[in-house]
């Protein structure tokens, strides 16, 4: 289980990006984090990953405090970030550096077959399409069998068709080992198709505004009335999160300070 306890992040330049996020994520749960720009959703993901640890509060995975990248946690970025000097197979096996060669080869082959790119093993990353490259990145993150997989807007750079294709494919892959997925996105449809729970965040500082359970059975029909119902709820929450963020007390204080200077 992943436990976030008042996770905050203040950058050295004084920006208060994350203002105390607490939640619990069950093993195998899929959580989508959604929110307007600057709501700290990527900051939250990076704090969980240990790449940019929280400045206050704790991230606990199975009782272990996460302050640096951890072997049980995998991450997929917005860009595939494949290493251009390694062939596809080399990239997929990148996280298995310490394993015996035969085991590595076998696991890479299985993973590539699973993402439908078995024939691309000996191809350079440059020769892949955007969707193929992101599939390789997914395979690379899944090969070490993480308990938690973090995804930072993984499909936002892809065209609409490839995106829905990869969303379905991700669910398919998830079903193999059922890791916990935490997905940052700005696409409401994506959040509802994938997640058990949609976490809506609001900015200044970033915090959880609302959480919406998605109890629809999988696979989910993007055209169904039930899907639309949930979508309206998420959209409404997003809308409120943004309007509330505009007028906090601190904005008024600034306005009056400006007025004082003016007089």
């Amino acid at each position: 289980m992943l436990v976030l306890d008042r996770v905050s992040k203040t950058y050295p330049n004084g920006v208060h990006a994350l203002g105390g996020v607490s939640t619990e994520v069950e093993l195998g749960e899929i959580v989508a984090v959604i929110g307007g720009s600057g709501c700290g959703k990527s900051t939250l993901l990076r704090a969980i990953s240990g790449l940019d640890p929280a400045s206050e509060g704790t991230v606990l995975l199975d009782g272990e405090r996460i302050t640096a990248p951890h072997e049980k946690i995998g991450i997929i970025f917005q860009e595939p970030r494949l290493l251009p000097w390694l062939k596809v197979a080399g990239n997929v096996g990148f996280g298995l550096g310490d394993r015996p060669r035969q085991e590595r080869a076998a696991r890479v082959a299985t993973a590539l077959k699973r993402v439908g790119l078995a024939d691309k093993a000996m191809v350079w990353p440059r020769e892949l399409s955007g969707g193929q490259a992101q599939r390789v990145a997914i395979a690379r993150a899944l090969v070490p069998r993480p308990e938690v997989l973090l995804l930072d807007e993984p499909f936002s750079a892809l065209d609409a068709f490839t995106r829905t294709d990869l969303q379905d494919h991700l669910l398919d892959l998830w079903a193999d080992a059922k890791p916990t997925l935490i997905l940052v996105t700005h696409d409401v449809d994506e959040a509802i198709v994938l997640a058990d729970r949609v976490m809506v965040m609001c900015p200044r500082p970033g915090r959880i505004f609302d959480e919406i359970e998605v109890a629809l059975p999988r696979p989910r029909d993007r055209q169904s009335a039930a899907f639309d119902f949930v979508k309206r709820r998420v959209l409404a929450a997003l809308d409120r999160s943004l309007s509330r963020a505009v007028a906090p007390a601190d904005g008024e204080a600034k306005a009056s300070a400006g007025a004082a200077l003016w007089w």
């Binding site: 990953s49 790449l51 640096a68 990248p69 951890h70 072997e71 995998g74 991450i75 970025f77 860009e79 970030r81 290493l83 251009p84 000097w85 390694l86 990148f94 996280g95 550096g97 350079w124 440059r126 020769e127 070490p144």
Partner: protein
């Protein structure tokens, strides 16, 4: 039907033939001017319209080249020059690699060393010669040092810049997979830096050849640069041109060797060009 099929079959072959010809002809086009000039000059000298004493025709240059090679002089001088370049290049590259890597990796070392090195770089390297001769004498050491200085700067700058411009996003991938510092260098930084490093080695080598000429012109009893001076003092222009040709061949060959040695590690860069 059959005619149409035949035509369809023949068309690409016909089109492919001129294209293949064009691919061969394009580099050959560059040879037209020098070859024409050489032939014309040969003809003019043969006809007695010019003596060709100061500007020997190609046949004389070729004969001189063959004579020098047959007597073993050419090989001896080439080997001496090659040895100097190799020593200077080796020293220059070693020092530049260590300092460049350190300055690229650590901002502290960069701030400490880079301003001084940039100031030294602004000095035309030939200006060091009198000082080097004073310190090290007129023999090998001062020549090798001059070449090493020439090689140092492009390699130092190239490596430092390459390390600084390594994609942070790829470094982060390394961090996410919990690479140790050593593994990070070996699996991310080294391959990322290699293309720029090879380019800097090649430009360093080019400067090395330039500086060996300068060093040998200023006093040597052996080497291709000595052949140049010897040809000038004894009024043998063909010998000068033969030495120049030897410089061109050996310089190009060593450059090609570096490119060849690096090629297997840089195959991933060529993907786009091949297509």
């Amino acid at each position: 039907m059959t005619i149409a099929a035949e035509q369809r079959g023949a068309m690409p072959a016909e089109r492919a033939a001129p294209r293949k010809w064009a691919r061969l002809a394009r580099p050959a086009l560059g040879l037209v001017l020098p070859v024409t000039l050489a032939v014309v000059w040969e003809f003019i000298v043969r006809m007695g319209w010019a003596s060709g004493r100061l500007a020997p025709p190609p046949s004389v240059i070729f004969a001189t080249f063959v004579d020098l090679a047959r007597s073993g002089d050419l090989q001896r001088h080439t080997l001496v020059t090659l040895g100097r370049v190799a020593a200077g290049f080796g020293i220059g590259v070693s020092v530049a690699t260590v300092i460049g890597a350190a300055a690229g990796y650590s901002p502290l070392i960069r701030r400490l060393l880079d301003p001084s090195l940039q100031a030294l770089r602004a000095i035309p390297s030939i200006a060091w010669v009198p000082l080097f001769v004073l310190w090290l004498g007129i023999f090998e050491a001062s020549k090798v040092l001059l070449i090493a200085v020439g090689v140092f700067f492009p390699v130092y700058l190239g490596l430092m810049g390459a390390i600084q411009s390594v994609d942070r996003k790829l470094v982060e991938v390394g961090r996410a997979f919990r690479l140790s510092d050593v593994a990070m260098v070996r699996r991310i930084l080294l391959p990322a830096v290699l293309p720029a490093y090879v380019i800097s080695l090649r430009s360093g080598l080019g400067l090395g050849w330039m500086f060996v000429v300068a060093a040998e012109l200023m006093g040597a009893s052996e080497g291709l640069g000595y052949l140049l001076i010897d040809g000038q003092e004894l009024g043998k222009p063909a010998e000068i041109v033969a030495a120049i040709v030897a410089f061109a061949i050996v310089g190009k060959a060593t450059d090609w060797l570096i490119a060849l040695a690096a090629a297997p590690f840089l195959r991933w860069e060529d993907v786009v060009r091949q297509e």
